[in-house]
Symmetry: C2
Subunit: 517 residues, 2 copies
């Protein structure tokens, strides 16, 4: 369950929509539940060889504890990182491909970021995947229970501290490998892509460039319209089927009306094959809204097991199921038929447990309640959701109630910028690729236009959330194969620039399929 | 007195030089003792009109306190800043000239940074001088006594926190002035120059460029030779007079030999007109070494009252005094005659109180013991000091003993870079001027060569510590007038670029003396 969202709903949204208490979904990036880690080696999830290592990392890079406090276990934690030499590293001086871990288990990101592994042998690059603090095994204070204990223990879960972790780790790693001269190329998807872009901007002395995939670095304050995320989700559905879009748009009122009837929650629970009877209609609308958001993020043209086992073009499949119900089917029966594709594509689920939120309450909720304040609204016409306007005061109240912490909504743009990004970066910074797939609702907060000759936007009209990073499969469409090659060609250029007169240490980028490993 | 330095001396340097315990001076940037603030309006110290304001600043930008802790006074402090509209500001959209305060009272930096004030009217710029946390009136915890209480209270005195202060202050200030579109130009001298350069690199969205004057951003780790600072001090003396240089070089052994004799310390105290009898020879050698370092920093071609009232070309004067003593004068009598120019140019001091260290123990010592670890050695031949090799272990031991804090010698280069700066920044970053005067020993850690078309080094062979920033005087040599014009012309270019098609809001840079105010 998701207490913050629930409380927000109960307190605020009810006030706005007294007739129908609409769910204010705060979308998260797609990160799997630890228990549902997809099987490796299947459907574009790679099984790569690496060594698991740990680095003694400072909990707070930006203050100096007294020597007495410094010895306490609390001042340091073990950061996990994975090191792979797929196809052999060129050795000291050879490139290092560094994945900036995001909000989850790093092994999962490693398994799902095939591009890094598949490209490495062609550049004779060392591969490093670094886990983000407070996720996976990289827990301060020795355990997740202790790390997530209260606002005091959570205080150091920030992007700035995570970037400093990466900087310190890379500096130490290069020294230990006598690889001070090795150029580092950063990779990251989603929040990890934001970190990769910010890392290149803040630590140009540590990395020569960054591939920031599906990184919504502009999804803050008023830089992009707060409605854009859910508008894009809605567009994805309308694109497949107008009737599907309209069914969903109509469904919210039907759902809440039914929920308000006598035995309405019981009826809803039966319609949706829930294991337990619903406590509120919000629980259901939240569950549905989550499915739509994630479906939009992973609307890949090939089957995937990124979050859930899903067919190719899953939204098309969802809509087909909704639309193909018998003529007399009710709106909610159609909805059920649709989301069943998402939550139960394998057909093995007997009933759905809404309490078993596969994305769990975790660090990201806390991050969203501190610095990662991404305003989200529902527009009236373009979206398939009931109108809702983001209200910061309510948002803050929810955070204070749930986590005892007050968000700082202006901090990310103060620290990392975002407003007028073209003007700011056109003569500043270099060597960043911003990839976005336009089906991905997070593309609304992404950089979609070239900023300069070397701060480049690559846009895939038919791509979804960081599809470029996913392991290659034989079914990959040509545009995907070709855009990956374009990215590697640009990265190759950064490395050539770096090596300059020394000549490339790595093999030239080969054409499709001719990996040099 | 300077406990850290003393302890370092007693513990370590004695071990290295058993015969003569040489002072290992850790040079500081020139900052005056609060009680000896020079009179305004005299000898190149300006008396500029401004309003004093305070901004509620967060003590720790990089963690999130719980809401309970947040309300405590300890989580915030009042940062002082000065706002001037000399000659009139163009208003919202017009430029803002922002001085990045360094380790001292901001009013003193305002009085001594005439260039900012004198240039402002020509650009119709608003002038802001922001005080650095833990200095002047900008004290966390309500008072200097509480702020400087222990390593816990000092923990947030870091350059990263100070830069974040500037970023938050500027963002808020621009919003309050409806001046979000105003381009900000950063200024700073010495440590303030380091902050200005780093601020442009880390916060390009907040400032369009930086004039970093005498900013030794390379004085870390092994980027420049650790002997360079004292070699340059020595060069300044040898340049004026070889015999002066040799007298100083010989004096240390004489001083310590005499100090070791019976009644030697008493004799030394008399020779040097000290108010109290010396407790150790180190106190004296330290006092002398300080004078030489500061003399080299402020070896200006015009009279100044930057640290002490001094004549033009003070080293020339010191050496003339040493060399012109009667033939039978002893080495130490000559030394006394020399440093008397520095410590008593006005001739009003009856005796010298070595305990009254005019530069006091303060925040900078703490900063030097945490992140600002600048290794300093004495070379054998080029320097006029006894050979000494920087020893990090001893340095750290001194810091732990004095402040209970362990330095992080690799942190500054990890956070801000420095190694291979040309390669790193030639295609990254823009709009920074690094000014250095080659007489200034801090120029050894400065950027002395152009990095790119817009990351530019301006070098004045006859200039000393941030002479460009000092208020203009009628005696200024032509090269100084002309280099200031060059700097303003470059800044004018940044602003033109920024305003682009809108056309400049400000008056073109005028020729010497024709200020538009």
């Amino acid at each position: 369950m998701h207490p913050l969202r629930l409380r927000l709903l109960l307190v605020l949204v009810l006030a706005l929509f007294p007739a129908a208490a609409w769910s204010l979904a705060r979308p998260r990036f797609p990160v799997p539940h630890p228990r549902t880690l997809p099987g490796l080696g299947a459907n574009g999830v790679g099984d790569y060889e690496y060594e698991t290592r740990y680095f003694r990392q400072r909990l707070d890079h930006f203050s100096f504890p007294g020597v007495g406090d410094e010895d306490e276990a609390a001042a340091f934690f073990q950061q996990r990182y994975l090191v792979g030499r797929r196809g052999g590293w060129a050795g000291p001086g050879g490139p290092i491909f560094f994945y900036c871990g995001n909000e989850g288990d790093i092994a999962w990101f490693a398994a799902n970021s095939g591009l890094v592994w598949e490209a490495a042998p062609r550049f004779a690059a060392l591969v490093v995947f670094a886990e983000h603090r407070y996720y996976g095994e990289s827990m301060p204070f020795g355990s997740k229970a202790k790390a997530y204990n209260d606002s005091k223990s959570m205080a150091y879960l920030t992007a700035e501290q995570a970037l400093a972790d990466f900087a310190v780790l890379l500096t130490d790693l290069k020294k230990n490998l006598s690889a001070e001269a090795s150029p580092v190329v950063l990779f990251g998807g989603s929040y990890g892509g934001m970190l990769a872009a910010w890392m290149r901007l803040k630590y140009p002395h540590i990395a020569v460039g960054a591939l920031a995939s599906s990184a919504p670095i502009l999804q803050f304050e008023d830089i992009v319209p707060s409605t854009i995320f859910y508008d894009l989700v809605s567009d994805d559905f309308r694109r497949e089927s107008l009737s599907c879009f309209l069914t969903i748009k109509d469904s919210w009122k039907v759902l809440y009306d039914q929920g308000n009837e006598q035995d309405g929650l019981l009826k809803l629970s039966k319609t949706f094959h829930l294991c337990q009877t619903l406590k509120t209609s919000d629980d259901l609308s939240d569950w549905l809204s989550s499915a739509y958001s994630y479906l939009a993020m992973v609307d890949y043209p090939i089957p995937s097991e990124f979050l859930m086992p899903l067919p190719a073009n899953p939204i098309k499949e969802v809509c087909r199921n909704m639309d193909s119900q018998p003529e007399g089917a009710s709106t909610l029966e159609r909805i059920y038929a649709g989301v069943n594709v998402y939550y139960n594509y394998t057909g093995t689920v007997g009933c759905f447990d809404l309490n078993d939120d596969p994305h769990g309450m975790g660090g990201w909720d806390w991050q969203a309640c501190t610095e990662m304040v991404m305003p989200m609204s529902y527009s009236e016409d373009r979206s398939m959701y009931p109108p809702y306007k983001f209200d910061y005061a309510s948002y803050a109240e929810g955070c204070i109630k749930s986590y005892g912490v007050r968000p700082r909504p202006h901090w990310i743009t103060t620290e990392f910028g975002g407003h007028n990004i073209t003007m700011v970066l056109e003569k500043f910074g270099s060597n960043i690729i911003f990839f976005n797939g336009l089906l991905d609702p997070w593309s609304g907060g992404g950089v979609l236009k070239n900023i300069s000759e070397s701060v480049i936007a690559i846009v895939a009209p038919l791509g979804a959330h960081h599809i470029d990073l996913r392991p290659a499969t034989p079914e990959d469409p040509d545009w995907l194969v070709s855009l990956r090659e374009s990215e590697l060609k640009i990265i190759s250029g950064w490395l050539s620039d770096y090596y300059g007169a020394r000549g490339p240490l790595f093999q030239p980028v080969a054409v499709k399929g001719s990996s040099a490993s």
